[in-house]
């Protein structure tokens, strides 16, 4: 055929919101083999096209919506899109993944990626329908919740099935933890919603009708069949289907992997009660975020009546339920469900929102925030009534919410009075609901994750240390997790290097990471990718792409001024918990984080002082031009 690679359209859409100009560009096949797609391709574009030091909320920032050849409904985990941008919350590299049909639809429309740049004078939304691209006025959508916006766009387009991703009022107000939701799934972390808001972009609707060209159709079909068989027989996949991610609360509480009371402890002892109440009283059914998912871990829930009433909605993941219970010491399950629901309507990240409220509660306890500062709201630990009001204040930037909407790092600098030590974040991103004191690899994944202390890249850490998942990486040099102990620090830095290289692959392929829990390995994905593209790519090459992308994202951050100091994790996170069953466990503490970091840097080929990749490493990865 021509120069096009099978599995790709070889085209990207560039939309300038300044001029309204839409152009279709060809993608260099050499770049595709090196970066594949998703967070890999996005990193390449952002590194090349963004100037150092730009304001993430200025029109100089760009949004890259990236897919990969495997962004297909029939691929296990294929229903995802990755949005890449410079984060207004952290000023660092960021990507945000969203599980929905948006990615596969974009691919069917004939585009491997969409680059959105500039800023529209007035609010708009974009419609992508194969070759028909429209930028439509959206003044009437402003101020509406995300579910209302999605409904209105579908009604206007007369198409109930079109995939739509929107921001809420929080994104419009440039709240730095604002999200974009496709149906009820979020591209959640690092403020993608604020970047869309800064561009006056209320939403994007996408639908496609094209078929993907497959290099070896029979082999491709067989590779998918083989992978699906693994998933269908896998007990972890069955567990996710039955209990979703929320089911992990009980074990994590027991394991000391459940940050509680703004990280004062890692155990609360209430998870079993909270989870059982959620499961027995409020859970309606499970839900697949994209058509064809064999796991369907999503939870559909409802609080039918009372003060904390909600609509029937998808929500309450492990992270969100933990954020609105353990983080803030709230035992009221209805209030926690409502908080998660409201975040999705206003359009803010549940993890950061829970973490910010926990931070505010600690500030309140210590007199940094006073009742009069916050409209007479009682911000005592565990007050369920405070949650919905705090979410509203942050989302609408009202009163103290305007400061808190900046995230805990900036808010603590503004509030001062010692509140910095209550601000638990990495690179400015609020910490999620896993605790590295109880599994030390997590400390290094938290510290070195390019987008900050996030919930996705820690999968490499705790899952390895405590869960004993090897993700099929032992053959590539990972130490067998059954031969190490979760309390050990030595050796973890080295393991994290391989884990990160392997576990970034789903981000590069724009697929769901949970399928690596469900028994699939990077070899399965290499098989599917090879049959689809005709490339003959193996697991080892995917690992190398992973390493290349991690280094390129790192270079992006270094260019922005990040260094070794930004790889540190908060002091509280390293110290013995102040209450709970691990309080007297002497091993539940991070003694030598710097030592673990040195070991990691050495494994990576990074300078121990500056944290910069060495010239040899960059040459090895084909990044010597950077």
């Amino acid at each position: 055929m021509d120069k096009l690679v099978y599995g790709y359209s070889g085209k990207q859409l560039r939309i300038s919101l300044d001029s309204g100009k839409v152009s279709v560009e060809s993608i260099n096949p050499q770049v595709l083999r090196k970066y594949i797609g998703g967070a890999g391709y996005g990193a390449r574009i952002l590194y090349d096209e963004l100037q150092k030091g730009i304001d993430p909320l200025s029109k100089a920032n760009k949004l890259i919506f990236a897919t990969s050849p495997l962004s297909l409904n029939q691929i296990p985990g294929g229903g995802c899109v990755i949005v890449c941008f410079k984060s207004p919350l952290t000023n660092a590299w960021s990507e945000s993944k969203c599980g929905s049909d948006f990615g596969p639809e974009l691919k069917r429309a004939g585009y491997d990626a969409v680059i959105i740049e500039g800023r529209s004078e007035n609010p708009v939304y974009i419609v992508i329908n194969d070759e028909d691209i429209a930028i439509k006025p959206a003044e009437h959508l402003t101020g509406k919740s995300i579910s209302e916006k999605i409904k209105m766009i579908r009604e206007e387009l007369g198409d109930q099935k079109i995939s739509v991703m929107c921001i809420g009022p929080a994104g419009e107000k440039l709240v730095k933890i604002a999200v974009a939701l496709s149906d009820q799934r979020a591209a959640g972390r690092c403020g993608v919603g604020a970047v869309m808001g800064s561009k006056n972009l209320m939403g994007i609707a996408v639908k496609g009708s094209k078929k993907v060209r497959v290099a070896q159709p029979e082999r491709f079909k067989e590779a998918i069949k083989k992978a699906m068989k693994v998933v269908r027989k896998n007990e972890v996949a069955a567990g996710f289907k039955e209990h979703g991610t929320t089911g992990e609360m009980i074990a994590n509480d027991a394991a000391g992997d459940w940050p509680t009371k703004n990280w004062q402890s890692n155990h609360w002892g209430k998870a079993e009660e909270i989870y059982n109440e959620f499961y027995n009283k409020y859970l309606i059914k499970n839900h697949a975020c994209y058509r064809g998912c064999p796991i369907a871990c999503g939870r559909v829930a409802e609080v039918k009546e009372g003060k904390y009433k909600t609509a029937v909605h998808e929500g309450c993941e492990y992270e969100s339920l933990s954020a609105f219970t353990a983080f803030v010491l709230n035992e009221n399950v209805e209030a926690a469900i409502q908080a998660s629901y409201l975040c999705n309507e206003y359009g803010i990240d549940t993890i950061s929102a829970g973490a910010i409220i926990a931070f505010a509660m600690e500030c309140y306890e210590h007199g940094v925030i006073k009742k009069k500062d916050i409209g007479d709201l009682d911000l005592s630990w565990g007050n369920p009534a405070a949650l919905s009001e705090m979410i509203r204040l942050i989302s609408m930037r009202e009163g103290l919410g305007d400061i808190l909407a900046e995230g805990v790092k900036t808010a603590s600098k503004i509030l001062g009075k010692g509140s910095e030590k209550f601000a638990i974040h990495g690179k400015g991103l609020e910490a999620p609901a896993h605790d590295p004191r109880s599994g030390k690899a997590l400390a290094v994944t938290y510290g070195t994750a390019n987008r900050g202390m996030c919930h996705i890249h820690p999968l490499e850490g705790m899952a390895y240390d405590s869960g004993k998942f090897d993700f099929g990486l032992v053959k590539y040099g990972l130490v067998d997790p059954n031969t190490i102990h979760r309390w050990d620090e030595k050796g973890k830095g080295k393991s994290v290097k391989i884990l990160q290289d392997g576990l970034i692959v789903p981000d590069i392929l724009s697929t769901c990471k949970f399928f690596l829990y469900a028994g699939l390995t990077i070899d399965n994905y290499a098989d599917m990718l090879s049959a689809l593209t005709g490339w003959e790519i193996d697991g080892r090459e995917l690992l190398k792409v992973g390493e290349r992308v991690i280094n390129l994202q790192r270079l992006f951050n270094i260019r922005e001024g990040f260094n070794r100091d930004d790889d540190l994790i908060p002091e509280r996170v390293r110290q013995r918990p102040s209450f709970g069953i691990y309080q007297d466990e002497p091993r539940c503490v991070i003694k030598d984080y710097e030592g673990m970091l040195n070991e990691y840097y050495e494994a990576r080929g990074w300078d121990l002082i500056t944290g910069k990749p060495s010239k040899d490493k960059l040459r090895e990865l084909g990044l010597e031009e950077e």
């Binding site: 567990g239 994590n252 992270e319 997590l442 820690p458 705790m462 899952a463 405590s466 004993k468």
Partner: protein
């Protein structure tokens, strides 16, 4: 001696036919947790967290009469 055992999440399916009375299992004196896990046919490859009477214990821990044992597996993601 007799101990009370509760399995969680995906571990619930293990231990079929090994329980003697309700949640109770009869085991020899000073039986280590490791041996209890193996008696229940819980695969080694799964990461496990064990609480005995509400407190975390390593697999070498030797059980006593009347102990309440909870065995859970950690996924570490989500």
């Amino acid at each position: 001696m007799e101990v009370k055992v509760k399995l969680y999440g995906i571990l619930r399916k293990y231990g079929e036919g090994k329980f003697d009375r309700g949640d109770n299992i009869i085991i020899p004196e000073k039986f280590p947790l490791r041996d209890l896990i193996s008696y229940l046919d819980i695969p080694e490859r799964l990461g496990k967290i064990c609480l005995v009477n509400g407190y975390p214990q390593d697999v070498e821990y030797k059980l006593s009469e009347g102990d309440e044992v909870k065995i859970l597996t950690v996924l570490g993601g989500g």
